[in-house]
């Protein structure tokens, strides 16, 4: 490890500590805001982990998110909290492996819509099961988790996600992913085991997303499939990551934070014209930042000499 990497890590550590200390200085609304924001940062980064380099655009985000939330809904009364999270992660992993294996032959938009269909299928199956087997639909979550607790958990998850993403980028696996993204045929002829690599990465990304759902669920007290399997979550995640630049470590973060704040600001100030303004801003962004936020920043900085 070079001195620069160490310095970078130390800096990241300091930022993390500062963020973790936030609830002691800022009010409850700030914590709430940070929960939402960190949630999307993790979702977008985890999404970019798989979809960025491989360019498989996944809309299955909410499937895993919902699985996480539902697991908490089902088990929160019966198991201790850490175990519930563990079980959620394991279920997410299992589903991810099945999904990953079944999607291997799909490419492009077929993959996109397949993953969307999958999320909806899972939602339908959960609904049907609840209706016909357990005979209830909504689930109550009365866990004694404070907003601060949720925030810290998400922050830790964010740190872990960045660490994983950064680590992959530095190893040959990072290169392998870029190769896969460009041309799978070449990748396999270079000796890369595409199947295994894609599967491992998809599973990692899915487990992280599952955990986001599981960690956030206690905030809503009550969950039902239409709440936790809301496809908007998949769309927002995708949009944020793409906007920031999904193939770079910090890209999704730089998409998620400004977009999240934009949503927040617009819905606070223009509750009646929110969609119109949001849409226009969105179109403007696409036209003004053609390569994503991070690339735009980089070229700015690049002109200033530092890269």
């Amino acid at each position: 490890m070079t001195a620069r990497t160490l310095l970078g890590l130390a800096f990241a550590g300091l930022v993390l500590i500062a963020l973790a200390a936030l609830p002691f200085f800022a009010g409850p609304y700030a914590v709430t805001l940070m929960i939402g924001m960190t949630g999307y940062v993790v979702l977008a980064t985890a999404w970019g982990l798989f979809s960025g380099p491989t360019r498989y655009v996944s809309l299955a985000t909410v499937a895993f998110f919902g699985i996480g939330a539902y697991t908490v809904g089902v088990l929160s009364e019966t198991l201790p909290y850490p175990l519930v999270l563990l079980v959620a992660a394991l279920i997410g992993l299992a589903v991810a492996l099945v999904v990953g294996l079944s999607t291997l032959r799909l490419a492009g938009v077929y993959f996109v819509i397949f993953t969307f269909g999958l999320a909806e299928l899972i939602r339908q199956v959960v609904t049907w099961y609840e209706v016909n087997v357990t005979g209830t639909l909504g689930r109550y979550i009365f866990l004694p988790v404070t907003p601060e607790g949720i925030y810290w958990q998400l922050l830790a998850l964010a740190a872990a996600t960045f660490l994983i993403s950064w680590g992959i980028g530095r190893t040959r696996w990072g290169l392998a992913l870029k190769v896969i993204g460009d041309d799978e045929v070449v990748a396999s002829h270079c000796g890369i085991d595409i199947t295994r690599l894609k599967l491992a990465l998809f599973a990692t990304s899915a487990v992280i997303i599952t955990l986001v759902g599981a960690i956030q669920a206690p905030r809503w007290t009550y969950i039902e499939p239409s709440i936790v399997f809301n496809p908007t979550i998949s769309f927002l995640t995708l949009i944020m990551a793409l906007l920031g630049g999904a193939d770079r470590l910090w890209g999704p973060l730089l998409g998620a934070i400004p977009l999240f704040l934009l949503f927040e600001w617009l819905s606070a100030n223009f509750p009646n014209h929110y969609p119109i303004i949001l849409g226009l801003v969105f179109i403007a962004i696409v036209f003004l930042l053609p390569k994503g936020v991070l690339a735009a920043l980089e070229s700015r900085l690049g002109k200033g000499g530092a890269k």
Partner: protein, 242 residues
């Protein structure tokens, strides 16, 4: 000399079309062999099956005596087979060096970091791309991309190299350089199976050639002889060509 690659009764069907029909031949270690035949006779398909890109419909392929038919390309690559593609497949969003490092990192030696970069630069200069390492691969001309593809194939330190019309499109000067390059591979003990339509190159490089027509093998022997075979002349070379 010992046998490196053996094909027995290799067959590939696409729907109703039999692209490769019960082809058998073997390659000795260190040989440079030409695989010739009219367009659409199944040469590329044979290479595709050897490299694992296509599963054979029937027949068997062995490398060093181990069956490789049906294995995935990544396994076969690790067993020492590398190739170039008839229509170049560069990795356009990567740099030239990264294109080569991809093969180094996942090939047999698994090089990474500075070592890999040094090795990549070495392979690049061997194919005449010294100094182009940090260019995006997409900005190379077609021919330079072919060179890069060869560097990538060589980076895997293959025992068997499959070249699919790698010399096509070179002018005579460049062709000469290309031929010398392949000859140097031969000296390093790499076995080469070469699909090519440039007869000058075939004559210069291949002691032996195999000719296919309509999916079948129609000739196999010393190049000078096969190229005189009346069937080969009729089907492939044309009467004007002697």
């Amino acid at each position: 000399m010992s046998e490196l690659l053996a094909l027995t009764g290799l067959t590939k069907r696409f729907g109703g079309l039999t692209a490769v029909n019960a082809v058998s031949f073997s390659l000795e270690r260190g040989e440079v062999v030409g695989l010739l035949g009219p367009n659409g006779s199944g040469k590329t398909t044979v290479l595709n099956m050897i490299s694992g890109f296509l599963p054979p419909t029937g027949g068997r392929i062995t490398l060093n005596g181990d069956a490789i038919s049906g294995l995935g390309p990544n396994h076969i690559a690790k067993m020492g087979v590398a190739r170039t593609f008839q229509l170049v497949r560069a990795l356009p969003s990567l740099t030239v060096a990264e294109n080569v490092i991809a093969a180094l990192a996942f090939g047999r030696q698994k090089l990474w970091d500075a070592v890999a970069r040094d090795a990549a630069l070495h392979h690049l200069s061997a194919v005449g791309l010294a100094g182009r390492a940090d260019q995006p691969a997409g900005s190379l001309t077609y021919i330079d991309q072919k060179r890069m593809e060869l560097a990538r194939a060589l980076a895997a330190e293959p025992e068997l190299l499959l070249l699919d019309e790698w010399l096509a499109g070179l002018n005579p000067t460049e062709l000469k350089t290309g031929i010398d390059l392949i000859l140097s591979l031969k000296d390093r003990g790499i076995t080469v199976l070469l699909v090519e339509h440039v007869m000058d190159a075939i004559r210069a490089l291949c002691g032996r050639s195999i000719v296919m027509n309509a999916g079948r093998k129609i000739a196999d022997g010393p190049t000078a002889e096969t190229l005189k075979d009346p069937e080969v002349v009729r089907a492939y070379l044309g009467d004007g060509h002697v």
